[in-house]
Symmetry: C2
DNA sequence: TTCATTTCTTGAACTAGTTCAAGTTTTCCA
DNA sequence: TGGAAAACTTGAACTAGTTCAAGAAATGAA
C-alpha cells in the first residue's frame, strides 16, 4: 500500500526502512468518493495529501462562477493549498475528487513534528517545492505567450494519459478558455490529422 | 552593506551573528550595469543572487522574438533560474539588469556546502520557495481567469512603486499583452479617474 | 431500461487583444 | 546640446476567444 508512496519519495531523498516507517507513521489513509470535496475555499486546509489512487482537481472559483483549475493531481501527486496549510489561514482554493480516490493525509502539527524528528524531510519538501515551482514557471510562460491551441497541444504532449480521465470542461478550466472554445479547438486539431 | 540581506533572511529564520557570518561568507558582491545580462538562455545558471540594489527582469525569449517576463526583482528579491541552477542544466531564461544594480551572488558548490554546514539554510530555502510558489499560483490563476485590464490593476495594486521603474514594454511582457494594448489600457484607466 | 441530467457541439454575433504603420515624445550619449 | 535611437500613442483592419442559444450525445440513478 505504501509502495507508490515510498517510490515517489525515493526520487528525491534516500530513507532507510526505519526512517521511512517513521516518516509514514503520521499519515493516515482516506477513501474519497467521486465529486467529494476535500477542501472548500474559506476553510483552513488541515491536510497535505499524497494521491495513492484516483484523480483530483485543485481550482479557484471566482465571483462570476468561473472555475479556474490550478492543477490536476493523479497517483503520485500531492494535494494541498500550500498557503493555507503552511500558514493555517483561510484557503482560496477548492479540492475535489474527480474519481473515487485514495489519499494519504498528514495534519499540520504532525507535519511540523516530522520536520523536527527527521531533518531530511526539510530537504525533501525543499526539493519537491522547487520542482513544482519550476513546472509552474513554465506553465506561466506558456500562459502569457502562447495561444490556446498551443497550450492544449503542450498539455496533451506533456500528460498524454490525462485527457481521457478529464472532462472537457475541466481541461478548459485548466487552459483558461471556455468549454465551447475547447470543443472547437479539439475539432480543428482532429481534422488536421 | 549586509543589512538588507540580513533583515530579509530574518523574516524566515533566525540566525545568530556567528551563523549569519557563516551564511554570508560564500556570497560575493557584484556590480551590474544597466542592460547587462547576468544570464542568457542556453547557459548554465552559475549563481543564485540577492538583489541589494537595482532592478532586474527574468524573461523568456521565444522563436518569434517575443519576450515574456517571468518576474521582476528589485531590492530584497532573489534572482536565478532555479531549474538551471539546481540541476546545473542549460537555462531557458534570461536575466537582465534594468538599472545599475548590485547583487550578492553564491555559486552552486558553495550553496551545497552551505546546506551541509548550516542545516537551517535548508529550512530557509524551503520557506522562501513555498512563498514564491504561492505567489506564482495566484498569478497563474489571474492569468487564466482575468482580463488584461484586471491583471494590470492587480499588478499596480500589489506593487505600487514598481510601475514607475519599469518601461511599458516590460510591463506588457509581464502581463502577456502587446505594448500597444498596454498603452490603450493605461489611457482607458487614466480616463476613468 | 428509461428518462432526467449533464456534457459536448455548432453557429452567429460579439468583445478582447494583435498587428501594422505612421506620427509623437522621451531618452541617451557623443 | 543636438540628433539618433528608443519608447510611447493612435487608428484601422484583423484574429483569437467569448457568449448565448439550441440541439445532439453521453452518463447516471431508479
Amino acid at each position: 500500500m505504501y509502495s507508490l508512496f515510498r517510490e515517489s519519495i525515493e526520487k528525491h531523498i534516500h530513507l532507510t526502512d526505519a526512517e521511512f516507517e517513521q516518516f509514514c507513521a503520521p499519515f493516515y489513509l482516506q477513501q474519497v468518493k467521486k465529486k467529494q470535496m476535500l477542501l472548500r475555499a474559506g476553510e483552513v486546509c488541515k491536510f497535505e495529501g499524497f494521491v495513492n489512487k484516483g484523480c483530483f482537481r485543485i481550482y479557484y472559483l471566482d465571483e462570476k462562477g468561473l472555475e479556474s483549475v490550478l492543477y490536476f493531481a493523479i497517483e503520485g501527486w500531492w494535494i494541498t493549498d500550500i498557503d493555507s496549510f503552511t500558514n493555517q489561514t483561510a484557503s482560496i482554493l477548492n479540492i475535489e475528487a474527480l474519481e473515487d480516490s485514495e489519499v494519504l493525509l498528514i495534519t499540520y502539527p504532525y507535519k511540523n513534528a516530522l520536520y523536527e524528528e527527521l531533518p531530511k524531510v526539510e530537504k525533501l519538501y525543499r526539493i519537491m517545492t522547487q520542482k513544482t515551482h519550476t513546472a509552474l514557471q513554465r506553465r506561466m510562460i506558456s500562459s502569457i505567450s502562447k495561444t490556446a491551441d498551443e497550450r492544449y497541444l503542450e498539455f496533451i504532449g506533456k500528460y498524454p494519459f490525462m485527457e481521457q480521465r478529464l472532462s472537457q470542461q475541466n481541461l478548459a478550466g485548466y487552459l483558461g478558455i471556455s468549454p465551447e472554445f475547447m470543443s472547437k479547438i479539439k475539432k480543428k486539431i482532429a481534422k488536421k490529422r
